[in-house]
């Protein structure tokens, strides 16, 4: 078998690569390890819980409405630390650059990284640069890794029947912004990526109430994240279509392209499961934050398995983990 693009699409096919790593002898350093496939690892050091995570970024185009590869590479790692309940402290940065890459462009990318780091008061403490010969790589790839400290660890498998499901804002913005600018689709309203560092907002929410489970719906979108949470928590989740916040511009684009907004990436959103009693309080805190204005309670957790969408028309459908590439199914 050869690696296909589907193997990196965050859907079911990617599982084949992930399975390879189950061969690694040691995957756990005493806390939460690779086997959990959570947003990051947790390593107990003394009486502190250190959160450690890494992410590589290859987004095309490098600059898109609302962000660029630099901002994503910082936010992706900060958010993964935040999703574990950690406060991000420091990041590393590994650059792999194609020979001939424009220096000014690189400088813009670094500026953007700096702004994102400053927003959350995170340092970039170490780095590495490699240049590959022309043609060996398409422009640039950025890897970041990061550490943080967690007082309360939040997993992605802690949902309990009765919990409310909250999303911190509109879904699908990043995916549609990037595909529109990459494929040069000229939608009536420009769609802007939501890429943002979320640790501040997440910690405000954690201070306002209990969070049972949390995940950022990046690759594979909300559909992938919510299914992973349901599966790992061994619960059923019911989502109310009418409550799911989706921008009208994203909806219009999805109806022109046949792409489900729930199946494309978000880079500045969090999905959380919270006790029903805390839901309104947490929602209020989220809504008060600049990155959570459109937050909404969109569903509930029940006994059972699977994720069910209660449609606006009164029907039901499953929200399924995307394969990575849509396949028509109508007969």
């Amino acid at each position: 078998m050869k690696i296909s693009l589907m193997h990196g699409a965050g859907g079911e096919v990617m599982g084949e690569v992930v399975d390879l790593f189950s061969k690694i002898t040691n995957t756990n350093a005493g806390g939460i390890g690779l086997e959990a496939l959570d947003d990051g690892a947790v390593i107990p050091i003394g009486d502190r819980q250190v959160v450690f995570t890494t992410d590589s970024h290859v987004v095309r185009p490098l600059f898109f409405p609302g962000g660029d590869i630099g901002r994503i590479s910082v936010c992706g790692t900060i958010n993964d630390i935040a999703m574990m309940g950690g406060r991000p402290l420091a990041l590393s940065c590994g650059l792999i650059i194609e020979e001939g890459f424009d220096f000014d462009t690189l400088s813009k990318i670094v500026d953007s990284m700096d702004r994102a780091l400053s927003e959350e008061n995170v340092s970039l403490v170490t780095g590495d640069t490699k240049v590959m010969e022309k043609g060996a790589l398409d422009q640039i790839a950025i890897n970041t890794a990061g550490i943080g400290v967690a007082e309360t660890i939040v997993r992605d498998n802690g949902l309990i029947p009765g919990d409310a499901i909250i999303v911190s804002g509109t879904l699908g913005d990043h995916g549609f912004a990037v595909l529109a600018s990459r494929e040069e689709f000229d939608f009536a309203d420009q769609i802007i990526s939501d890429v943002a560092p979320l640790s501040g907002m997440v910690h405000a929410a954690m201070n306002a109430g209990t969070i049972h489970a949390m995940k950022d719906p990046t690759r594979g979108g909300f559909a992938s994240a919510i299914n992973e949470m349901a599966k790992k928590s061994k619960v059923m989740i019911r989502i109310s279509e009418e409550e799911v916040p989706i921008r009208s511009s994203v909806r219009a684009a999805s109806q022109l392209l046949g792409i489900d907004p729930l199946e494309v990436a978000n880079e500045g959103k969090v999905v959380m499961g919270v006790p029903a009693d805390d839901a309104e309080t947490i929602l209020k805190v989220l809504k008060g934050h600049r990155y959570g204005k459109d937050a909404a309670i969109i569903g509930t957790v029940q006994e059972g398995t699977g994720v069910i969408m209660e449609t606006a028309a009164g029907g039901e459908r499953f929200i399924e983990t995307p394969m990575g590439d849509p396949v028509p199914r109508v007969c």
């Binding site: 494929e183 459908r317 028509p328």
Partner: protein, 741 residues
């Protein structure tokens, strides 16, 4: 000459009055002994001089029975003094029970006999009629294992039950006014409306324009008069989809061009919905805006009584469910789901154990395999291993193979929502409960995302059964012809072995070895499934040029949206590739302005067929080409022909009618020609035809003519749906042949 013997009769011998039949023959021939029912066998100990005559009578069986085999074994010991019916006990299970049977003429007579025991009783039945599958919990079939166990028979019923000379001797469904299920009329809020005759009141309310949910054999119908059809369509949000109607036979004869064969099936013990050509294609457009109308006659006591009080000539009788969802069976669900649709509820107190929708048949081809047909039992040797076929996604059935028979379930629906997925599991359990197979092989569709595929995988994880993925169109052909043949599979969409979307395929071979020797030209489906909802996308995907651009602009497309569609096609962004026949018909319907948006399954193609009705097609040149070793019909160039003709006079309705006919005709000829060429080069005589597009009369007839004209035979499976209702059966055939070989 033996004067005694132990007789074993196998087949469908339960729920058909077999024991009373044997009893009556025994008395007639002076036979002593006993009869008992053990699952799928009737065992008879018989002594008497007329043993041979008795035996030859037995071989005929009662009307609803199916006899697989009759064995006679030696019998020793002394004969008893008389003949007895013994209690049923469990035994082998290959026979099943019959499906639900329309109320027989004798019972109808009873219902309308003044002062008779059954006068006006809605659930009158006998050994020859009434519900079977819909009420059974488990085999063997006896009252205590059916929904009738809650209704202990009264003295009169018990007496009739034990009377060997009665039509209700050992009739498990025997019931009357005194002891049986009752009818209850409920208001819109669920309150009971006390009525001397709930049926009479229901008829009055219907005549006055009420929309009423009526609980039948296998689920609820929504009923109203023709005057209320549009209101009901609006309330259901299904303004385009035709309704089926129930009418007296005379009315149907007056309003449709019904053939003698169709008349026979219409009033048979199955009494399905028969899709008939209207006498005036434009009449009754409040019910159906196609040239056809789905008709059935009253088939239960309740219906006969309702029509005896009703003034309206016919009733809309549509299944109470959202499209693709299972039919509603309980009052509680009806009250919660139909509150905005129906004004009243007429229900009865007998539980529906197994849901069963009305069957639908058109020109001798089963469209929906359900009440009266299913569970459908097919004798076929697929070896000794039990197989489950979990079916496709749309119009699904499941099939269980065990001990020489395939048992195909009633229509399940579109397995793409939690409700229907649960129904798929329920139906599978029901068949397994009845047949008790040890399933070692699970066959499923090749499509990785179908819920039926997911179910197959779940079951296999639980039981360790072997999974056999079956390509959708190969399953179509396996279901229609089991010998080596050329197979034409024409339908909407199925997942191909090359990862593209198939649906216009010509195979050579037999299960499990097929090669794809021909197909329609792969074309683009911009937006994937979106292109099935908006057929104009399909048109553009096939003919992405300036002329289509201008046409779509003139149809109200925004320049900006169109430029995105163009970019999507040129970049092949989220654009699937398909050889589907259905999508070509969709595109033709879009081209001719016949259907711009699909609101129900198959709508564009059905409207195209209606538009073409009565027109004589032109004969166009068939554009054939090759891709690899396969012969390919160049559908874009066919569609271009159609577009050129259309553009020459886009306003002329006769022109449109003729193009609609021509595109169907020449598409079908092309498919037929490829099949005949394949048959010639393979030296095969038989060409099989399957797939939902084959319901289209002109396409099916044109393919048949082409095949016959070239000296080949056309083979279709009349016992199975041409559409996806046959897939689960085809999956079993495929997996079974694979196992045997």
């Amino acid at each position: 000459m033996p004067k005694q013997g132990h007789i074993i009769i196998r087949g469908i011998v339960q729920g058909v009055g077999f024991r009373p039949f044997v009893y009556a023959r025994a008395i007639a021939h002076g036979i002593r002994g006993s009869v008992c029912n053990t699952g799928s066998e009737v065992q008879i100990d018989a002594w008497g001089d007329n043993f041979d005559d008795f035996l030859s009578d037995l071989r005929k069986g009662p009307p609803l029975s199916t006899i697989d085999s009759v064995e006679v074994h030696p019998l020793s010991g002394d004969s008893p003094k008389s003949f007895h019916i013994l209690k049923s006990h469990d035994g082998v299970r290959t026979g099943l029970i019959p499906p639900d049977i329309a109320t027989c003429p004798d019972c109808i007579k009873d219902i309308f006999t003044p002062n008779g025991r059954y006068e006006g009783y809605f659930a009158t039945s006998c050994v020859n009629c009434g519900p079977r599958y819909s009420i059974i919990k488990t085999l063997p079939y006896d009252r205590e294992r059916t929904a009738m166990d809650e209704f202990p028979p009264c003295g009169d019923c018990s007496e009739e039950y034990s009377d060997p000379f009665s039509r209700r001797h050992h009739a498990q469904t025997i019931a009357c006014q005194i002891c049986g299920p009752e009818l209850v009329l409920h208001s819109g809020t669920g309150a009971v409306i006390k009525e001397q005759s709930p049926i009479k009141r229901t008829a009055q309310l219907l005549d006055q324009g009420s929309i009423i949910a009526i609980r039948g054999i296998g689920g609820f119908h929504i009923a109203c008069t023709g005057d209320m059809a549009r209101t009901l369509k609006e309330r259901l949000g299904r303004t385009e989809q035709p309704f089926a109607i129930m009418a007296r036979k005379e009315w149907i004869l007056d309003n449709t061009s019904i053939s003698p064969d169709e008349e026979k099936i219409l009033q048979s013990e199955i009494s399905p919905i028969v899709v008939l050509d209207k006498k005036d294609p434009n009449a009754l457009d409040n019910v159906s805006n196609l040239h056809t109308i789905g008709c059935m006659v009253p088939y239960t006591g309740l219906h006969h009584l309702l029509f005896s009080y009703l003034s309206a000539p016919y009733l809309i009788m549509t299944s109470a469910n959202a499209p693709g969802y299972p039919m509603i069976t309980t009052l509680a669900e009806a009250l919660s789901k139909l509150s905005r649709i129906t004004d009243y509820y007429l229900t009865h107190t007998r539980d529906i154990m197994n849901r069963c929708d009305d069957s639908v048949i058109r020109k001798g081809h089963i469209i929906r395999l359900s009440r009266g047909y299913a569970p459908k039992r097919t004798k076929i040797d697929l070896g000794n291993t039990a197989i489950l076929g979990t079916g496709p996604e749309l119009n699904a059935t499941v099939t269980l193979y065990t001990q020489g028979f395939c048992i195909t379930s009633p229509h399940i629906g579109n397995v793409r929502n939690p409700g229907t997925y649960a129904y798929l599991k329920e139906t599978t359990s029901c068949l397994c409960n009845l047949m008790q197979p040890d399933i070692k092989i699970i066959a499923h569709d090749l499509h990785p995302q179908f819920l039926s595929t997911r179910y197959a995988k779940e079951l296999s994880d639980e039981t360790g059964a072997l999974l056999v993925p079956v390509q959708h169109h190969e399953a179509h052909i396996a279901a229609s012809c089991q010998k080596e043949c050329i197979g034409i599979a024409i339908d909407g969409v199925g997942y191909g072995t090359d990862g593209t979307i198939w649906g216009g395929e010509i195979f050579q071979g037999s299960a499990p070895h097929y090669s794809r020797v021909g197909h329609l030209m792969p074309v683009l489906m911009p937006g994937g499934d979106l292109a099935t909802i908006w057929p104009e996308r399909m048109l553009y995907g096939i003919l992405p040029d300036e002329q289509t651009h201008q046409l779509l602009l003139s149809r109200g497309w925004k320049e900006q949206d169109l430029s995105i569609l163009e970019k999507q096609v040129s970049k092949r962004f989220n654009t699937a590739v398909t050889s589907s026949t259905g999508r070509i018909l969709d595109a033709a319907a879009a081209l001719l302005g016949i259907c711009r948006k699909k609101t129900y399954d198959g709508e564009p193609a059905m409207k195209l067929e209606s538009a073409a009705y009565g027109a004589s097609p032109e004969t166009w040149e068939i554009p054939l080409t090759r891709i690899g070793t396969a012969e390919v019909l160049d559908t874009p160039s066919l569609l271009k022909q159609a577009r050129d003709r259309f553009m020459s006079d886009p306003k002329d309705s006769q022109n449109i009618q003729q193009i609609a006919a021509s595109i169907q005709y020449n598409l079908a000829r092309g498919i037929g020609v490829i099949a005949c060429n394949a048959a010639a080069s393979a030296g095969l005589q038989t060409i099989a035809l399957s797939g939902g597009v084959a319901y289209n009369e002109m396409i099916r007839n044109t393919i048949r003519e082409t095949v016959h004209k070239n000296g080949y035979q056309l083979c279709t499976n009349h016992d199975m749906p041409l559409g996806d209702g046959c897939i689960s059966f085809g999956q079993c055939v495929y997996a079974g042949k694979k196992e045997i070989l």
